[in-house]
């Protein structure tokens, strides 16, 4: 259990480093002891590289790694006391659950009585007690993934558990069981958990803090709520949320208004730092747009193009002049008319200048 600091880390896989392409551009970040984090981003954004640098599988081109203030940059993987859980369960199929869980301790020459105590405790926490004598081969995918995790937990000296897309092979209705276990473990052992994924839902439901990455850079660190309501860049607005945030090209009209489709829209951004008539983008989540009954501030007429019934909600695709707007509404709302009046509540309208939140 440790606080992990990454100081001015950068990494390139190029051998010739005279003009390298960086898989990770220089960044610093601190993972607090006992925190529950997710690293989120599309394929190739550098998230697995970051994880591998922490575990010691990859040695960074530049920078230092500190575990509780101790420099471990040159320490190899086996001495960093990191537990890892991968996309697919990595377990010994020919061993029983008990033997699988005991293995890391047996390898370290721990006394038998202590091994039994530890294995029983971890099995109880993970709900594996009844399966201890079973062959690992006979288990379901989520049980196998719990064993991978359990092997990390039996050691007393684990600094952090790093997980790379651990729920990929788990059926949707079992995923929550594993997430719940992870949260319990986080509470009980005060373990630092770092979870890598490209799936925003998994990141949002798992983590207290999410690190969003794109093209080798950290673009925002925040709580799920921050990322959803106040994305700091248009990329985060696009990447978090389903559907992506609506973004409209418009002009600055006053200190808190933009000119969109010929009308002034009040926003939540302070636009004094951006000069009048500058081209900006207004962003609003499809969840926050309302269907209005009468014209008022921030309303705009729209033509309905398509209505998708998605089960729990309906998704309206509508056209406001040249802009397409997506609006998420309750499944029970009936929309028969072809034109709607949409309201963009001012406190939910964010303004982006050069792709960054103003």
């Amino acid at each position: 259990m440790a606080k992990i600091e990454l100081n001015q880390i950068a990494h390139t896989y190029d051998i010739d480093i005279s003009n390298p392409t960086y898989a990770l551009e220089e960044f610093s970040i601190t993972w607090e002891d006992g925190g529950r984090y997710a690293i989120l981003g599309p394929s190739g954004c550098g998230k697995t590289t970051m994880l591998n640098i922490m575990s010691g599988i990859v040695h960074p081109t530049q920078g230092r790694i500190l575990f509780d203030g101790v420099d471990v940059t040159a320490t190899d993987t086996s001495n960093r006391n990191i537990a890892q859980v991968f996309q697919f369960p990595v377990i010994y199929n020919t061993m029983t659950v008990q033997e699988n869980l005991a293995f890391p301790l047996v390898c370290r020459g721990v006394a038998n009585s202590r091994i039994k105590e530890k294995v029983d405790e971890v099995a109880e926490t993970l709900g594996l007690t009844n399966l201890l004598r079973k062959l690992a081969l006979k288990l379901t995918a989520d049980q196998k993934q719990l064993i991978s995790l359990g092997r990390g937990l039996v050691r007393d000296d684990v600094a952090a558990v790093l997980m790379d897309e651990p729920l990929t092979v788990i059926d949707p209705d079992l995923k929550f069981r594993l997430r719940r276990k992870l949260k319990e473990i986080n509470e009980k052992y005060k373990l630092t958990l770092i979870y890598v994924t490209h799936d925003q839902n998994e990141a949002m439901t798992f983590a207290e803090q999410i690190v969003v990455m794109d093209k080798g850079k950290i673009v925002q660190v925040g709580t799920p709520r921050d990322l959803f309501e106040k994305p700091e860049t248009t990329f985060v607005g696009y990447f978090i949320g389903s559907p992506a945030m609506n973004l409209f090209k418009c002009e600055v009209a006053s200190e808190d208004e933009v000119l969109f489709c010929g009308a002034k829209f009040k926003t939540s951004s302070d636009l004094r730092s951006v000069s009048q008539s500058s081209e900006v983008q207004m962003g609003i989540r499809s969840e926050f747009i309302q269907v209005a009954s009468e014209k008022s501030e921030n309303t705009i007429p729209a033509k309905v193009k398509m209505i998708d019934d998605c089960g729990n909600f309906k998704l309206i695709s509508a056209q406001c002049e040249n802009f397409e707007v997506k609006v998420k509404v309750n499944r029970q709302m009936s929309i028969s008319q072809e034109s709607l009046l949409l309201k963009f509540p001012a406190e939910k309208c964010c303004v982006y200048h050069g792709e960054k939140l103003v």
Binding site: M204, T205, A244, C310
Partner: protein, 359 residues
């Protein structure tokens, strides 16, 4: 021009992969096979393609026996989960491959490949090597290759499952555009998926499968509104529909002795007795007047909060709009919006739905 399967059975090593599967599919329509992993979706597609010979049962296409035809005579195109392309060929040559095999003229190849690449949004990529493409682009190449074949049967086996979440969303929209563009009027399209929302969005007819059997075949909306049984209610909803055993007695529905609800109008005509009641996560809300449930887990997904709740032996999932701060272990009072309550009989078959049947 129907594809008709009758009583297909495939049972290697005494385990049913297909268990008496029957269906009829019509040209010009899209069918989604919805089921969890190992439901038999891939086996079914492979059986249609001729890659698996069933132990018994028959498949006919426009009235002709299809089962004994070898793969290459079936005029079938398949897109797999993995991005399968010829790694040493360019994008153009990958897409042109089936046409070259058929010795089609160069001019026609040129024209058809360009058209297909345009449909999948890869114009300008003709000379690129496959390795230089992203996963999403590679899957578009595979789709383009299956389009130029103008196959009578186009089979897509969870084509988006190996893509990034966001890319999946984008490609799903694009695929839907292609499917609806009229180009597929001469084909039967069969798309397999584990994702109920994807199935709803693609529209078309849904074939719900579990453990090798077809549980229901109906329009997507119909499966949503009238799930044939409790298994369909679980598979065709995300999160799965909450199912709770209880009793209808007089004007009340009683669950666990402690939880009592007035019988909603659409369930009044049900006979008194024991049922499994179904309610979707979105139809559960926090309400002071409700019954107490313990929070096992609370998860935020941006605009929504999922709460996992327990009361005695029953556990349910609720989906609340907006971000709510709810602690694990907290006891909260919860109300079911009973106007959306389903009832399933003792066998698990649908006894009553809150929706009126369309016909």
């Amino acid at each position: 021009m129907d594809l008709v399967a009758e009583n297909l059975v495939f049972r290697p090593e005494n385990e049913y992969h297909l268990n008496n599967v029957s269906f009829t599919m019509t040209r010009g329509k899209l069918y989604t096979i919805l089921g969890r992993t190992l439901a038999g979706k891939t086996t079914l597609l492979k059986t249609i393609a001729g890659l698996i010979a069933p132990d018994s049962g028959s498949i006919t296409y426009s009235g002709k026996e299809f089962g004994s035809l070898p793969v290459w005579k079936r005029n079938v195109a398949m897109v797999y989960q993995q991005f399968i392309n010829y790694p040493h060929l360019t994008v153009f040559d990958n897409v042109a491959f089936p046409l070259k095999q058929r010795k089609v003229s160069t001019a026609t190849i040129q024209q058809k490949v360009s058209q297909a690449l345009q449909q999948v949004g890869l114009q300008g990529f003709e000379e690129r090597k496959i390795q230089a493409l992203s996963g999403g682009q590679q899957q578009r190449v595979a789709l383009a290759r299956s389009l130029v074949k103008e196959a009578e049967l186009l089979l897509l086996d969870e084509p988006l499952v190996n893509l990034d979440y966001k890319l999946r969303e984008q490609l799903r929209d694009e695929f839907r555009g292609i499917f609806n563009s009229g180009l597929m009027d001469q084909s039967i399209l069969i798309y397999s998926s584990t994702d109920p929302v994807e199935t709803m969005q693609l529209g078309g007819d849904v074939v719900v499968m579990d453990e090798g059997s077809v549980l229901q075949q109906a329009k997507a909306q119909d499966v949503f509104e009238h799930p044939a049984d409790t298994r369909v209610a679980l598979i065709a909803n995300d999160p799965a529909m909450n199912l709770i055993a209880g009793e209808k007695t007089g004007g009340m529905i009683v669950i666990n002795q402690a939880i009592r609800m007035d019988v909603p109008r659409h369930l009044k005509s049900l006979m008194d007795g024991r049922y499994t009641f179904g309610i979707r996560a979105a139809d559960i809300s926090i309400d002071k007047e409700g019954d107490l449930w313990e929070v096992e887990l609370s998860e935020i997904s941006g605009s929504e909060t999922f709460i996992h709740l327990r009361n005695g032996e029953h556990s349910i999932v609720g989906l609340l709009e907006m971000v709510k701060d709810i602690q694990i272990g907290e006891k909260i009072s919860v109300q079911f919006d009973t106007q959306w309550l389903y009832a399933f009989d003792q066998k698990g078959d649908l006894a009553a739905s809150p929706f009126q049947k369309a016909d």
